[in-house]
């Protein structure tokens, strides 16, 4: 399983202000939180979640997950659609 995360937007409106990270989950037992949190079905549910309509300056995340069958799932999510635990995992990548 390969997880790729990129962010864009925010207060600055500067592309370079975002980040781009990737994690190759080679050992699912030790990287269980990533496997569960970035499960494509879970991400799909998050993508349907609406954020606050008056929020401003939030970043947008593009998350691509390549599963073990080599299928690539791409999600585009606003920052407030991601639970804090997921954002902490992204920061730790």
């Amino acid at each position: 399983m390969m997880i790729e995360v990129a962010s864009s937007g925010g207060f600055g409106g500067i592309a370079a202000g975002g980040m781009s990270k990737q994690l190759d989950v080679t050992d699912p037992s030790s990287q269980q939180p990533y496997c569960e949190t970035f499960d494509p079905d879970a991400l799909s549910r998050l993508a349907d979640k609406a954020g606050h309509p008056s929020a401003a300056d939030l970043q947008t995340y593009t998350i691509a997950v390549t599963d073990d069958d080599n299928r690539r799932h791409v999600f585009r999510l606003r920052e407030d659609a991601l639970p804090p635990e997921m954002l902490d995992l992204i920061d730790a990548m």
Binding site: F11, I14, A16, G17, A50, D57, P84
Partner: protein, 365 residues
């Protein structure tokens, strides 16, 4: 219909659900997403208490069919009491984090905490003393902010209920608790409680511009600078030490705030001829805001004095009166013209110069 007992978000009161459903069906991808979000929010808040309506739109006295924000409708100023609540995110994403400085508490010694506290107080004073507004919602809502949000986080935002400030990665950004940034984020709250401007395309760029206008006004009033002494920068000094730039945006000269190998060139236009059509950044909300930003700057140059006096009063009144979350630049310009006439009279210098300022950025009104 959106009745007063069912609705707390001003936008829900303005855009009828049937229109939202049409937008969700027929709009382009971004409009569909926006409409779905509003409809979803409507369902979530249906059972919330009616008193959470504070700050929404109310009928204007004696003029049937007209609506203004409740903050403007109050004829007798309330006693305004600032209630700041600064939290430490401790590098994590959960909000609001640990409360570290409440109203009246002594400085903590953490510069981020203390700047967020002092800055929130300065913004509160601007709205209270210059515009007669009691906090973001006009009804004294506490000012909640989180500093040290996440790790190396290159951003600050308003999430609908609070402000959050990252520490920056110390390369591109070194801090976000600079006064114009604090004023900017809090002003998104004021926009929200003034009827709202949808965060997409031109209405989103207007939302951004209003936040920049009142953010820079906060700095100017704090420093007691008139319009000629002010630097008209948003986010001055927040860029990293090796970045070639003075700030994130310049209202005086949009497009010139930075020019750097890593960041590229400041993309803001100053005229409608240079309007940027893009799907990035919610349709360029942080880019095309340069146009109304520059119109405000030009208006200030024509009038002189302090920005928070005549020009600021016109902008503030327009924000309270516009009642159109999907306003275009032209709609906004027309609303500022109405505000100038209401405040200073038809044919007044304030109205004539405003028309001239808008014309200089390519907007006829």
């Amino acid at each position: 219909m959106c009745g007063p007992a069912q609705c707390h978000n001003p936008i829900h009161c303005i855009v009828p659900p049937h229109m939202l459903r049409v937008m969700a069906l027929r709009g382009d991808a971004s409009v569909q997403q926006m409409a779905r979000a509003l409809l979803h929010q409507n369902e979530e808040v249906r059972d919330e208490r009616a008193e959470r309506m504070t700050g929404g739109l109310v009928p204007e006295d004696g003029r049937s069919g007209l609506f203004v924000s409740s903050a403007l409708a109050r004829s007798v100023p309330d006693r305004h009491v600032c209630d700041r609540r600064i939290h430490d995110g401790e590098g994590k994403a959960a909000l609001p984090g640990r409360l570290v400085r409440g109203e009246g508490d002594a400085p903590t010694g953490d510069p981020e905490v203390d700047r967020a506290y002092d800055g929130a107080g300065t913004v509160f004073e601007l709205y209270s003393e210059a515009f007669g507004r009691n906090s973001l919602d006009g009804a004294g809502v506490p000012l909640t902010a989180t500093v040290h949000h996440r790790r190396n986080y290159n951003n600050a935002f308003w999430n609908g209920t609070q402000m959050a400030y990252g520490d920056g990665d110390q390369k591109i950004f070194r801090t976000f608790t600079e006064l114009s940034v604090i004023g900017h984020e809090m002003s998104h709250g004021v926009v929200q409680y003034s009827g709202g401007l949808l965060y997409q395309g031109q209405s989103g760029a207007l939302n951004e511009s209003v936040a920049d206008v009142f953010g820079t006004m906060t700095v100017q009033r704090k420093l007691d600078q008139d319009v000629y002494a002010a630097d008209w920068l948003v986010g001055a000094g927040i860029l990293g030490p090796d970045i070639n730039g003075r700030a994130l945006r310049s209202m005086k000269a949009p497009g010139t705030a930075y020019h750097d190998a890593l960041l590229g060139q400041d993309p803001q236009p100053y005229h409608m001829d240079l309007y940027v059509d893009t799907t990035d950044d919610n349709g360029g909300v942080h880019i095309n805001s340069g146009i109304p930003n520059h119109a405000f700057y030009l208006y200030c140059m024509y009038l002189g004095g302090n920005a928070w006096e005549r020009p600021g009063q016109v902008w503030y009144r327009a924000l309270q009166q516009i009642n159109n979350p999907m306003a275009t630049f032209h709609d906004w310009a027309a609303e500022t013209m109405d505000a100038a006439i209401a405040l200073f009279g038809a044919g007044s210098c304030e109205q004539v110069m405003l028309r001239r300022a808008w014309r200089l950025v390519g907007i006829a009104c």
